[in-house]
């Protein structure tokens, strides 16, 4: 009896330890690659939403114990062309993560890019199509971004929602508005421009 228990303990311990060792080894190799992929994706998204930018600088702040970061896009002459930041929030199913680009006038968006989404294929996931994302180019954020259904937008702060995917369109607009208002509060224009 005692023998069996010892064997069970021994075998499970060895299997666990060996598995742990292998995982640590694989992680050691894979993690830098995974981090590099994430960073590359982030970088590409910043240059999509701030097309004139050639490089960027990270600016971080702690607001209500939450870390908030913006990416200041600069062009070849080191001039500030706009800021980019991440808008994270709920969608129709799961999270939607968006990179938002805002001009230095703090009024017009330079563009958005959907980084992550789990919306319904064929309906909600059309938010990541250029036809939808493109509507945010030059969009005014004041008083706030709005959407209308079935017809062309009339005001400079409006976009047209995707037919059959109002909830997803609404989620994108809400996430963008929330992120914009947080960033405007935490990173006032004078502070960023100087």
């Amino acid at each position: 009896m005692n023998n069996v228990v010892t064997k069970m303990l021994l075998v499970l311990t060895v299997i666990g330890a060996v598995s742990g060792g292998i995982l640590a080894g694989v992680f050691h190799v894979a993690d830098p690659l995974i981090q590099a992929n994430r960073e590359k994706e982030l970088k590409e998204a910043i240059f999509v939403v701030l097309p004139e930018a050639k490089d960027y600088k990270v600016m971080e702040k702690e607001v209500d114990k939450e870390k908030l970061a913006i990416y200041k896009g600069i062009d070849a002459e080191e001039k500030l062309v706009g800021i980019a930041f991440i808008a994270d929030g709920g969608g129709f199913q799961g999270n939607i993560r968006i990179m938002v680009g805002l001009g230095i006038d703090y009024l017009k968006l330079k563009g958005i890019k959907i980084l992550e989404q789990n919306e319904t294929p064929g309906l909600g996931n059309r938010i990541k199509e250029p036809a939808f994302e493109g509507q945010f180019k030059g969009l005014e954020i004041k008083p706030k971004v709005e959407y209308i259904k079935y017809r062309k937008p009339e005001k400079p702060n409006q976009i047209q929602a995707i037919t059959g995917a109002t909830i997803s369109s609404d989620a994108v607009v809400k996430n963008v508005n929330n992120a914009v208002s947080r960033v405007l509060k935490a990173f006032p224009q004078e502070e960023v421009l100087k």
């Binding site: 069970m8 075998v11 499970l12 598995s19 292998i22 995982l23 992550e116 319904t120 064929g122």
Partner: protein
């Protein structure tokens, strides 16, 4: 010679006679969830094939060492190890596929095919048959997911492997890429496979 035939049999059974999702009805969760395009289905199938093969090899090699009382616990640790390796590999080398498969790769851990083959086959058989069993089952599973993906992508998007096949006249059947379409296609395929095997059995009998 008999040995070779046996190995061939272990391989072949996963392709039709015991094809995992349609005949064993194992691993239905990924079969339904990630087959809305061909690429996703094939990637999921190959990831499962990798885990199935490595876990069958390990379980078969350890079959005389692991005490019966703790075998399931040991298998789960072994399977979890390979799944995590597969997950990290996809995230490191193929980020778009890793993103599309989302939480389904970690969920291979609870895919009944893998624990099922470890318990029903690998723990009782030597290395070579276990490898053939894993390859047959894995390829059968990948084929099934690919077939589901072809049907759903063709009707749901009008394309196969992102190549548009049907012209603008075609109105995509949105339901095919939603969960409902997965159940419909799955049901029809189970019926078709059952019908064909019954016909085959009848012709052999008469």
């Amino acid at each position: 010679m008999a040995d070779k035939q046996n190995l061939w049999h272990e391989f072949k059974k996963g392709l039709w006679q015991d094809i995992p999702p349609f005949r064993l009805v194992l691993g239905t969760c990924p079969t339904l969830a990630v087959t809305n395009s061909v690429i996703n289905g094939v990637a999921m199938g190959l990831a499962t094939l990798f885990v199935l093969l490595t876990s069958n090899i390990t379980v078969s090699l350890l079959r005389k060492i692991v005490p019966g009382q703790v075998r399931i616990a040991a298998y789960v640790v072994i399977i979890a190890l390979y799944v995590t390796v597969a997950d990290m590999f996809l995230a490191a080398m193929f980020p778009p596929i890793s993103k599309a498969l989302g939480p389904y790769v970690p969920l291979i851990v609870v895919n009944c095919i893998i624990l099922g083959r470890a318990e029903a086959f690998a723990q009782k058989n030597p290395l070579m048959p276990s490898i053939m069993d894993a390859l047959g089952m894995g390829i059968g599973f990948t084929m099934s997911l690919a077939v589901m993906g072809v049907i759903r992508e063709l009707f749901g998007f009008g394309s196969i492997m992102d190549i548009k096949l049907l012209g603008d006249w075609f109105e995509p059947w949105i339901v095919m890429i939603l969960p409902g379409g997965a159940f419909i296609v799955f049901g029809f395929l189970v019926a078709l496979v059952n019908y064909l095997s019954r016909k085959k059995a009848e012709t052999i009998c008469h």
